[in-house]
């Protein structure tokens, strides 16, 4: 996840998402000389959705891959120990959430 390559991908994903979230009209109104005042009013967490969406999207690739690998191992070897390597939150491999929601990802 932390490799520069993935970050390039993340950045590429972020700009269209951010532009979608911003819309055009409000952006231009902020750039008309009163930006200094406006900046103080902007919630620093305003970009939260974009960041969470991009990071969630990238994370889910590895997450789903692990889920499918675990299921394949389970199918091949017939036991479920492969699901335990995720520690306490081993949902990627054992609880089926990933499978049921993958189409929304």
């Amino acid at each position: 996840m932390s490799s520069p390559l993935l970050l390039v991908l993340a950045s590429a994903c972020a700009w269209p998402l951010a532009a979608f979230a911003c819309g055009d009209a409000d952006v231009t109104s902020a750039a008309a000389g009163d930006v200094e005042v406006l900046l103080a009013y902007i919630d620093p967490g305003v970009a939260g959705f974009v960041i969470v969406a991009v990071l969630g999207f990238i994370s889910s690739m590895g997450y789903l891959a692990r889920s499918y690998i675990a299921r394949a191992k389970q199918w091949l070897f017939g036991h479920s120990e492969v699901g335990t390597d995720d520690g306490a939150d081993g949902e990627a491999t054992v609880d089926g959430d990933a499978d049921s929601e993958k189409e929304n990802c």
């Binding site: 932390s2 993340a10 972020a14 911003c22 009209a25 305003v46 970009a47 969630g56 939150d89």
Partner: protein, 477 residues
């Protein structure tokens, strides 16, 4: 008598009140709730996932008070719809007093709770370590109204707060060897990504977790800010699948699990058990002296001032309800926490604290985060081989030191290091000050103004002395 907790005002859905101790009973903690919040908490308490969290001790035990309960009546009279009672924690602590491993365990608990919630259709609406307290060495989540039902596709709004208050402080220590305590103490909202990005410059920005959770958010936030923010859209317009959210949480859990304070500067105090200057017989006599008096008094709360890696905290923990072990060396405290956690010594709370500069009152009105010395007074305090450090390194006069010990209103075991002890000589070696008030005679004279000396024992051929002190004019508990 109910008193509103100074740190519980940000969430309009409720407020915490403290009920003063009544006799042998400790302080009671109750929370007034609005009608919608009460309905949410009622649903939460009925959820199987929450029952499991309660059974595991991950969240504080919580129950509704009967409307006829006098305490509930008092809470309702203050404008709340109903009241719940929480189990009281033994001793409040703040994240800027925790060593690395405690902050890491708190972060893992936060992620575990959130992942559990999300799978059950709930969410934690914030992600601050101030919502976590300690049952000894076990982290416990205390802010029950933070649990809210997750609207369909609702994204995790606490991500930025999690990064600012858990992840970035941990990464600063793990990757750069910068202790997180002073940073979190001076910035109660944590270290935001744009600020953290300044620490991770050059090749440092490629360290594990930094590109995705520092550099990228900082860039997006900066870009968004420069464009004047985001047009207001319905929260429902911003949707995130459960899988993507669980994947992000899993990614964070893996990242946090892999962090360790590898680059912290080595500390002599973390190796105290092997490097102290006693011979074996003296050290055993010192331990026996402490154990004898702790076992006779059975304190409810004991402070070990200058605990190092907790040799004496462990001894006294066998005879105390709770031991708060304090030391200014974060590495030594980290060792103590990890050893106590692995040894299942559940009644020790290790804290990083410079006793010459203990945690002050912080936040709104200086009351949001209570100062260390006003949280709960100890019944007993250990002050072993500490006075000379405070005198020489912090330049606190002996008279003030003894007055401060008296202000604790507790039984105190002191170990006084004489001027002829080699450790004092080493400490004072390059100082111009001669510390004229630091003599055994003057120390005893100051002590006798405030305390009765109940027991004493010489060590190292008379270079050191152990003293058991009872405060004058005070009924003992």
């Amino acid at each position: 008598m109910l008193s509103a907790d100074g740190g519980s005002f940000k969430d309009p859905s409720g407020r915490v009140y403290l009920l003063e101790p009544n006799g042998a009973d400790g302080c009671r903690v109750v929370r007034g709730l609005t009608a919608p919040a009460a309905a949410t908490v009622e649903s939460l308490l009925a959820e199987p996932f929450f029952s499991r969290l309660l059974a595991d001790g991950d969240v504080v035990n919580t129950r509704f008070l009967s409307p006829d309960d006098p305490v509930a009546v008092d809470v309702v009279a203050r404008g709340w719809a109903s009241a719940v009672e929480h189990d009281a924690v033994d001793f409040l602590t703040w994240p800027y007093e925790w060593p690395f491993a405690m902050l890491k365990d708190a972060a893992l608990l936060q992620l575990h709770l959130l992942a559990t919630c999300v799978r059950a259709g709930w969410l934690l609406k914030d992600a601050t370590p101030f919502n976590i307290q300690w049952d000894g060495t076990k982290p416990v989540f205390i802010d029950i109204p933070s649990f809210v039902p997750r609207e369909d596709g609702e994204y995790w709004q606490g991500y930025r707060q999690f990064c600012s208050m858990f992840l970035i402080p941990l990464m600063l220590t793990a990757h750069l060897g910068i202790p997180h305590q002073p940073l979190l103490r001076s910035s109660l909202e944590g270290i935001p990504p744009e600020e953290a990005a300044r620490y991770f410059y050059g090749l440092r920005r490629f360290k594990r977790g930094v590109p995705s959770h520092v550099w990228f958010p900082a860039r997006v936030e900066g870009w968004m800010r420069s464009r004047g923010g985001m047009r207001r859209r319905s929260r429902l317009g911003r949707r995130q699948s459960k899988t993507a959210l669980l994947a992000l949480l899993d990614n964070l859990r893996r990242l946090v699990t892999g962090l360790s304070p590898g680059r912290a500067s080595p500390s002599g105090w973390a190796r105290y058990p092997e490097t102290h200057s006693y011979d074996e017989g003296d050290f055993e006599r010192k331990m026996a002296f402490v154990e004898k008096h702790a076992s006779m008094r059975q304190p409810r709360l004991l402070w070990d001032l200058g605990a190092n890696t907790g040799t004496f905290s462990r001894i006294t923990a066998r005879h105390s309800q709770i031991v708060v072990a304090l030391d200014g060396d974060h590495e030594a405290v980290d060792v103590l926490y990890r050893e106590a956690r692995e040894g299942d010594e559940r009644n020790i709370i290790p804290l990083v604290m410079d006793l010459a500069n203990p945690s002050p009152g912080q936040g709104w009105s200086g009351r949001e985060r209570a100062p260390f010395v006003e949280r709960r007074s100890p019944d007993m305090a250990l002050c072993l081989a500490l006075i000379h450090h405070l005198r020489v390194s912090a330049n606190v006069p002996v008279s003030l030191l003894v007055e401060w010990l008296r202000s604790l209103n507790a039984t105190v075991i002191v170990e006084f290091i004489g001027r002829d002890d080699e450790m004092f000589a080493t400490l004072a070696e390059n100082k111009r000050e001669d510390y004229a008030d630091y003599t055994a005679e003057n120390f005893q004279s100051e002590v006798e103004r405030h305390f009765m000396i109940e027991d004493r024992m010489g060590l190292k051929g008379g270079k050191r002395e152990m003293l058991l002190l009872e405060p004058k004019n005070t009924a003992l508990t």
